[in-house]
Subunit: 362 residues, 2 copies
Amino acid sequence: MIVSESELRNFTEQVFKQMGCPSQDAVLAADVLLRSDLRGIDSHGVARLSGYVRLWEKKRINPKPEIKIVHETATTATVDGDSGLGLVVAPFAMDVAIAKAEKYGSGWVSVRNSNHFGIAGYHALKAVAKDMIGFAMTNASPLVAPTFTTERLLGTNPMCYAFPAGKYPPLIVDMATSAAANGKLEIAQRSGKEIPEGWVQTSAGAVSTDPHALKQGGSLLPLGSDREHGSHKGFGLSATVDILSSVLSGANYGPWVPPFVAFIDPLSDLPGQGIGHFLGAMRVDGFRPVDEFKQHLDNWISRFKSAKPVHAEQPVIIPGEPEYEAEQERRVNGIPLVDAVVDDMNILAERFGIEKLRAYTA
Amino acid sequence: MIVSESELRNFTEQVFKQMGCPSQDAVLAADVLLRSDLRGIDSHGVARLSGYVRLWEKKRINPKPEIKIVHETATTATVDGDSGLGLVVAPFAMDVAIAKAEKYGSGWVSVRNSNHFGIAGYHALKAVAKDMIGFAMTNASPLVAPTFTTERLLGTNPMCYAFPAGKYPPLIVDMATSAAANGKLEIAQRSGKEIPEGWVQTSAGAVSTDPHALKQGGSLLPLGSDREHGSHKGFGLSATVDILSSVLSGANYGPWVPPFVAFIDPLSDLPGQGIGHFLGAMRVDGFRPVDEFKQHLDNWISRFKSAKPVHAEQPVIIPGEPEYEAEQERRVNGIPLVDAVVDDMNILAERFGIEKLRAYTA
């Protein structure tokens, strides 16, 4: 089913309003989810809407949070999200970072007591719109085992860096620090296919090509897959995200990060509050004139686009370009939703007494 | 041959003085190299001393640089290294970052017109000593091909994040953004062994297990090794390092980064000056009291140290711990040097008329 942007946006806003979010927050939360669907990152958009609703039903999401700065210097701050939607808490925190950068050149905010914040790229791109370099990270439900271990101690903990270019779209690196995301396992499960070695291990730490290994007590592997190929680096990056997001802010870290799925309860004796994010903004003109920077970043991108491909039919991919192209296309032609997501949305429509999604007609 | 720290330090200082470095710079540059040898990162220590000398002979290193800030805001700055040793330029830049952090909570410095800066960890740890979080990155000679391409457009571009702990040593992630470092190929070359798939590709972009493939026109692969295992993420991280270090400062980037080896001349029509670094410092107490942070980081480390290992004889490795242990051991027992490095040092001794290194006797 293909749905227009405005139809899907309107539907999503209504669901958040029904959860009790103030109108402005519902509009913002829907904007974050829609941006993910528009950019072709289907796993992090409205596909997660029912997940947020279930967390709210369990009272693990507060629809009317009092988000506030609890500690700060000129360029740093800790924000408490009051158990709100990460989709609302993270934009608040990024606005704090940007305001500090406007005054002092850079701004850095660590966030506690939040929930999942959608795609990291949404938040980093807010800085890019102001000719700043944007940084966004978050920790997440533990699914990844550190190198040499069998315990799920880390989330897929994404890191995102975004840079404003001139004639090209922003260059944006937005990546999980695991070898593969959970969504890729789900696709293989549906199609009954094996997965490559290096994505998951069994509960005993053995190599596995079974897409069900994770559900059977196994774990995802850090970027690098095994020690020989640098999995200790993926582990180190994931640790960095966890510490900047949560040890620094007072959120939960490691195995204590509350799961996104509502049917698994958080552990007891938590060392912090909610999940954590880390957001930053740095003014380009704090280093050199914006025009000069953009001209050189354009030159960088041009040179890399001309890189000799291994196979002529698969040219190099500049980070952020596929997502930018998806966004241009989907704004015009609508957003495709898989059946499972449409079913979820129909259940939400009934649950809240709102009109079902209608297919897009050009 | 095993050499005492003081013997090796003294020798290295003399070589830098013979290059014409002011005494204070020679002491500092030797300190950066020695720290690498002490920490067991033998590839980045005195093993590179003759390489710096050869660059100086080619007039690509200025032994008496006027290092200066050329652009700044309260918390950001661009530093011009005046073609100096990165071993001297980077500590200058990190001091600027730390001074800004002391005043405003954080400080960020992009550096142009520099040379190789040794181990990233040295610089990041300067911030840790002040109860700050340290960041250090640099670009480097192009050896790595972006995903789907056969061209060497990026260096092994390391990134480093360092955090102060309480009862444990600092947690420090210091990693090349390639799947494997060049040094690992050299070890395999010497022992005549094949290397694992995923470290290098041939000049045509084919999979190779030949440790000589890089010398024969091939390239190193980004962390992740191939697209299926996330090499686009390694590419994205390396791009991030390149942009923060050089597009931001006005240094050279991508294929234009001047090679560390003196026998390869830099390309013509360079878009910038020298190589680039990016250094940062963020006060922990800009976010929460230092004691609280350290207590929770200790808790994080304790929990990860207790992670169930796949094999009982190989426990989890906390980032930075092996290097810390090497440092404690080598300060007492001396630093082992392989024959090739001893030969290099003897040549330097003759070249500059200084006394040859003597073996350590306890």
